[in-house]
Amino acid sequence: MLAYYLELGLRSLRRNPMLTALMVMAIGFGVAASMITWSVFRAVSGNPIPDKSAQLFTPQIDSWGPQQNLPHNEPAEALDYVDATALMHAHAAKRQTVFYMVGMRVMPGGSRELPLNANGYAVTSDFFTMFEVPFRYGSGWSAQDDHARAADVVISDTLNQKLFGGADSVGRMINLGGHGYRVVGVTHHWNPKPRFYDLFSTQGFADEPDIYMVFNRAIDLHMHPDGRNTCRGSLSFTNWQSYLQSNCAWITPWVELDTPAEVASYRRFLTNYAAEQQRAGRFNWAPNVRLRDVVQWMDYEQVVPPESRISLVVSLGFFVICLVNTIGLLLAKFLRRSGEIGVRRALGATRQEIYTQYLIEAGTVGLAGGVLGLLFTAAGVSSVGILFPPQIARLAHLDLSLVGLTLLVAIIATVLAAFYPAWRAAHVQPAWQLKSN
């Protein structure tokens, strides 16, 4: 019987072609608009490190004071050098890292006569384990190398391809900005999106870093941050040493804490540290610290661009209107056939059967709308670039799950919209219809 209803439904698509076309178009547009904006939203709001996002925390320490702080007395989004090194020395967490963005060039050599860009980070050894950086060759460096300020460097697969044709380059030397470095590891392609670990210098979406070098060495070489740098009050530094002692925030810290007890104890450590600084006269305000995990940090830093949320909400509203429209049109389409329904009811069809038949018919309309919507979605997703910057637009793509979702949403939404019109159809009075015919 269901197959028969389905056939009836498909056949009825051709009846009232205008009404049907209107509904199919409305559903197609509605579902496509929602799916296109959803594909972007899904990409920008995903959890980039789901298995560890609850164990990674970024500490903040108020070194500016209530008068200079961000709105709501929020401390700086990164640390100054003094606090960053103090956190590293205290070693109050199982794993911890501090880092900042560096801009380097690979000097000409071999067949290359022009320098090559190499952006990346000056990090400490735990960076690689904490963020689960995958390695193709070699590995990161050790804590001893951190202390020894080793000239070690980890390079990306892409840079390894450019410099060594993709071969295992561990142990090879490269010249970065006039200094020699030994390659200790080559990463697999690794560019979590959003870039949760560096929301201070990036908005969460940036090209893959090329290199990672030893933090202490970068400091020794007076390597200036290539990312953000934010300061308060009068700036009077004249050299690297006075810059390091300034209140400029430019270093991002992360710690790994496995249990709630560890989190509580680290929070206490931060508060104690700030209290100590207050006693020492460096801060003349009460301790004001934060400890946010990955999800809280992404939320605070507003990784999802407002455009993405607004367009998703507007598209959903658009879809709802399309469905309201569909309810009205289905009502017209079904009730137009009151006569036919009356005959069928008189011949013994139950209300349940009429109800099922019309819901299935609506389902076929939904399916047709979904297929049309899929075409619009495919076209839309490939032109998301007009709406979002390229780094974000690249993330939106039509995969199997989106295809399935588009069809499913179209059919379910249409069937839901058909509940009332089908109910009305099922309640057509057979006697009435027969009499007037």
């Binding site: 009404l19 209107l22 178009m25 409305a26 547009f29 608009a33 008068q67 801009g103 380097m104 060039r105 000097m107 000409p108 006569e113 022009l114 320098p115 090559l116 860009n117 900005g177 006039g178 007076h222 390597m223 200036h224 300061c231 009050g233 009068s234 700036l235 009077s236 530094f237 004249t238 050299n239 690297w240 810059y243 661009p305 407002p306 455009e307 949320r309 607004i310 507007v314 598209s315 509203g317 658009f318 709802v320 209107i321 399309c322 309201v324 429209n325 309810i327 009205g328 049109l329 009502l331 017209a332 009730l335 137009r336 007009i386 709406l387 979002f388 910057p389 009332y420 009305r424 007037s436």
Partner: protein, 413 residues
């Protein structure tokens, strides 16, 4: 044509569902379209902000040094040689070094205070560094005071903080700091211990950023007479002679490579003209305009189509009634008027509800996205558009109804 409001109301009660659906659709459409129009208007205002730059002739070179360990003296010598080479190019009118450029997206800004020990800043200014060629290169209009002289220009090394004693400010910054209009010769502090004295005022100079923070300090910029000899790199802003932008953009990198090859000029954003810069920085704003326009147009079309569909159905259902009325003496215009009035009343209910929804939606966006409150004019326009749309949509089925012949009254249907 008499307004038959009471019989219409009675008739509407007979098909409550259809009436409610049309009214609801009009209400939701109004809510979305008003807000979309508001977003479009706001974003268009952002996208068309003037930069103050002679955008047709100016381009920017992001010059990164290969040797990041160079001393300030080495960098400065190279920068001066580069500038000389650029300015000598036949297609080039002028060139300046700079720390950034208008509409760059992000960039350098400092808090501004009136006294050195003031903790709460008076405002925030975007900072540009440049030499005596900055104003001419960008094509800025000096409206008061003088340009920098070569003895004003200082050299600033990497991560060094220097506050020059002389500064040229944008009119917006001058007006913000000295509302009396007497900014020239006055001084202020921009996160430095020494004051900067205003020696010149330029008309419009957009900030590097276009984000919310920058919008709140729109157009407040200052120029410091500094060559910022950062060991990582520097921006060269170049102004081509009229009509020679393309030639200048081709020649410039060659001239720079001829000075030294130890630099990076081959990245995708190394050399950009202002059309590209503007396009890039307003990407998402332009995208919002396109998306909201498409959604509004499709939405209005779908709403109109829905009204046509349902009204046609009603007309079909009521052919006999119409025939009876015609037989009883109603003119074609009476029938036409009936359906137009009916739609008008449904639409009125719809826009009334829609106004509330539109305001609620706007309020939601105000609280969640720090958006401005929508002016009532948008609702006015939206209401008018939807009422007209409703009347337009109902016209065809209503005309068909008016052509129903009185003979229909005798048919059984």
């Amino acid at each position: 044509m008499s307004l038959e409001i009471k019989p219409i109301l009675v008739a509407l009660r007979r098909h409550k569902a259809g009436t409610l659906l049309i009214a609801l659709q009009i209400a939701l459409t109004l809510a979305i379209v008003c807000n979309a129009l508001f977003i479009i208007h706001q974003r268009l205002a952002i996208v068309s902000q003037p930069s103050g730059v002679d955008e047709a002739d100016v381009f920017v070179i992001a010059n990164r040094w290969a040797d990041t360990a160079q001393s300030t003296t080495q960098v400065d010598a190279q920068v001066r040689a580069d500038l000389l080479a650029l300015r000598q190019l036949p297609a080039v009118r002028d060139a300046t070094p700079s720390s950034g450029y208008p509409l760059q997206g992000g960039g350098w800004d400092n808090f501004v205070t009136m006294t050195p020990d003031q903790t709460k800043p008076t405002t925030d200014a975007a900072i540009y560094t440049g030499d005596t060629h900055f104003i001419d290169t960008l094509g800025l209009k000096l409206i008061a005071g003088r340009n920098f002289r070569s003895d004003d220009v200082m050299v600033m090394g990497t991560q060094q903080s220097i506050t020059p004693p002389t500064v040229i400010v944008s009119k917006a910054l001058a007006d913000r700091l000295f509302p009396g209009g007497d900014a020239l010769g006055k001084s202020f502090y921009a996160m430095g211990t020494t004051p900067s004295t205003i020696i010149g005022i330029v008309d419009t100079l957009h900030r590097q950023g276009v984000d919310q923070w920058s919008q709140a300090h729109a157009g407040q910029s200052l120029i410091w007479p500094l060559r910022a000899d950062d060991s990582r790199g520097i921006f060269y802003i170049v102004r081509a002679k009229p009509g020679q932008l393309a030639t200048a953009m081709r020649e410039a990198p060659k001239a720079l490579y001829a000075q030294s090859r130890m630099r990076l000029l081959d990245l995708k954003d190394s050399i950009q003209d202002y059309a590209t810069i503007r396009h890039k920085v307003f990407d998402s704003d332009r995208g919002m305009v396109i998306l909201m326009s498409v959604i509004s147009i499709v939405l209005l079309a779908i709403t109109a189509a829905g009204i046509v569909g349902l009204t046609s159905f009603w007309v079909g259902q009521r052919r006999k009634q119409i025939g009876v009325r015609r037989a009883l003496g109603a003119t074609r215009n009476d029938i036409l008027g009936y359906f137009l009035t009916e739609n008008f009343m449904i639409s009125l209910a719809g826009v009334a509800l829609g106004t509330v929804l539109a305001l609620a939606f706007n309020l939601w966006m105000v609280t969640h996205f720090a958006m401005d409150h929508m002016s009532l004019a948008y609702i006015g326009v939206g209401v008018l558009v939807l009422l007209l749309l409703g009347q337009g949509a109902v016209l065809a089925p209503a005309l068909r109804a008016s052509r129903v012949s009185p003979i229909e009254a005798t048919r059984t249907a």
